[in-house]
């Protein structure tokens, strides 16, 4: 279950930080905010498609961690707990806004966020992928982002979303197939180019 985290934060360190926080050291909480804010904000932004709403949910997520610190169960990973809180808040918003278009990721794709860490380096493929992710149905988008972007294990995704493991695996596979279909035309262009080019473009 232990795997490398996007920001190099291991789960045991998260637990140590929570222990420090529970002992009254606010620094433990501050470090958890630092470690998770970008990861969670990216996820929430891709789910709700609105920066202000994503930030509101993130604020509320950390506030709940702060207020409900005693309810954290050390038998589970901290990431599962905080992702569960964030996604529950996100789902509540999604239910409220279900009748209107929930995602505005087109604006995100066409107008890159100035806070983006890779601003200016966006290549065409990732741009297409960003758009493709935004068009995924919510249930597929959530599992895909958790598993393939945030690199949670299947078990963690299942635990976070309170879904059976088989359902998670099936949804992740389905999401990948949908995205693959969206990306394939671009790759086929490259494939045709590689056939005509005197220089072999390694595709596989």
């Amino acid at each position: 279950m232990e795997q490398s985290r996007p920001e190099g934060q291991t789960r045991s360190s998260d637990k140590e930080l929570m222990e420090r926080f529970l002992r009254g050291e606010v620094e433990g909480f501050n470090l958890l905010v630092k470690n998770y804010k970008v990861r969670l904000f990216s996820l929430l932004y891709r789910l709700v498609g609105n920066k202000e709403e994503a930030e509101d949910i993130l604020q509320e997520t950390f506030l709940r961690v702060y207020k409900q610190k005693e309810s954290y169960d050390f038998n589970y990973s901290f990431s599962t707990w905080i992702y569960t809180i964030a996604l529950n808040l996100c789902r509540n918003l999604y239910k409220r806004k279900k009748k209107v278009r929930f995602l505005g990721m087109d604006s995100l794709v066409n107008h890159p966020d100035p806070n983006s860490e890779n601003h200016g380096n966006r290549n065409r493929l990732s741009s297409i992928l960003e758009g493709a992710i935004s068009s995924l149905p919510f249930k597929y988008r959530t599992v895909f982002l958790l598993r393939d972007v945030d690199q949670l294990s299947y078990e963690e995704v299942a635990s976070t979303l309170n879904l059976p493991l088989g359902t998670v695996k099936s949804r992740v596979n389905r999401a990948r197939r949908i995205l693959q279909k969206k990306l394939r035309p671009m790759m086929e262009e490259c494939y045709e180019l590689s056939k005509d080019s005197p220089l072999s473009i390694p595709i596989l």
């Binding site: 905010v33 990216s42 506030l63 983006s116 990732s126 992740v172 990306l183 790759m187």
Partner: protein, 233 residues
């Protein structure tokens, strides 16, 4: 392995989620199958594009806003709070409430039984069950060595204290009362009709109509009643 099965496994192939044997099978297949090879390109593109996705950061004011919200929290939420037992074990609610009701019922029953046993212990040794209705528990202000019989007269209720000890134990005839006025008394307590002597065996006897009567006064069996006993309670 069929193309269909291969294509179904391609996403896991690029994620390294297959066994070595499964991976070898797919390697061999896509080298020989152009259709599956093209299908694989999409998955490879997906796999390559994921790390290139932007990572978005909240606004620079995010942490200061969060800090402000934390400062505004009520102090009870800032400090660790003792969790309610019902919060930790919600099912206890459905055990506790019936248990509390049963405990209350038991308490009331036992309390009633206690008073009853007290009353019985205060009864004259010779008293029958029929006499119990005539007896009430003495109040604190009353002499504990007496029992009290309540009489309902036409001028109101009268409590007649009667000595618990001594012989005769209880005589219910009061001045100006006739025997016929005491018909509702249990037979065992009924003065013998026509008996010349009835002993008032009540230290603090307070007769009806507030007339003083001497303790131990022997009353005639029949007198002209100005007050009539309606009921003994």
């Amino acid at each position: 392995m069929s193309c269909r099965k291969i294509r179904r496994s391609l996403s896991r192939y690029y994620k390294g989620e297959l066994t070595v044997k499964e991976k070898e099978l797919i390697d061999q297949h896509i080298l020989a199958c152009e259709g599956c090879s093209r299908e694989a390109q999409g998955f490879r593109a997906l796999n390559d594009a994921i790390p290139e996705l932007d990572r978005f950061a909240p606004s620079s004011a995010f942490e200061s806003k969060l800090g402000q919200k934390i400062k505004e929290l009520p102090s009870t939420e800032k400090e660790p709070k003792v969790k309610s037992l019902f919060t930790v074990f919600p099912s206890l609610r459905w055990v506790f409430i019936p248990a509390a009701v049963v405990a209350l019922a038991l308490f009331l029953v036992l309390k009633g039984g206690f008073h009853k046993s007290q009353t019985i212990s205060e009864k004259p040794e010779t008293a029958t069950s029929a006499e119990t209705s005539l007896v009430r528990t003495p109040t604190k202000s009353e002499n504990p060595s007496t029992l009290t019989v309540g009489l309902q007269t036409n001028s109101g209720k009268v409590d007649l204290p009667i000595k618990k000890k001594g012989s005769p134990r209880a005589v219910f005839v009061m001045d100006n009362l006739r025997l016929s006025d005491l018909e509702e008394l249990p037979d065992s307590r009924m003065p013998e009709r026509g008996s010349p002597n009835f002993v008032i065996d009540a230290v603090n006897y307070r007769p009806v109509d507030n007339r003083q009567t001497n303790v131990g006064y022997i009353l005639p069996a029949v007198s002209s009643a100005s007050s009539k006993v309606r009921k003994v309670y």
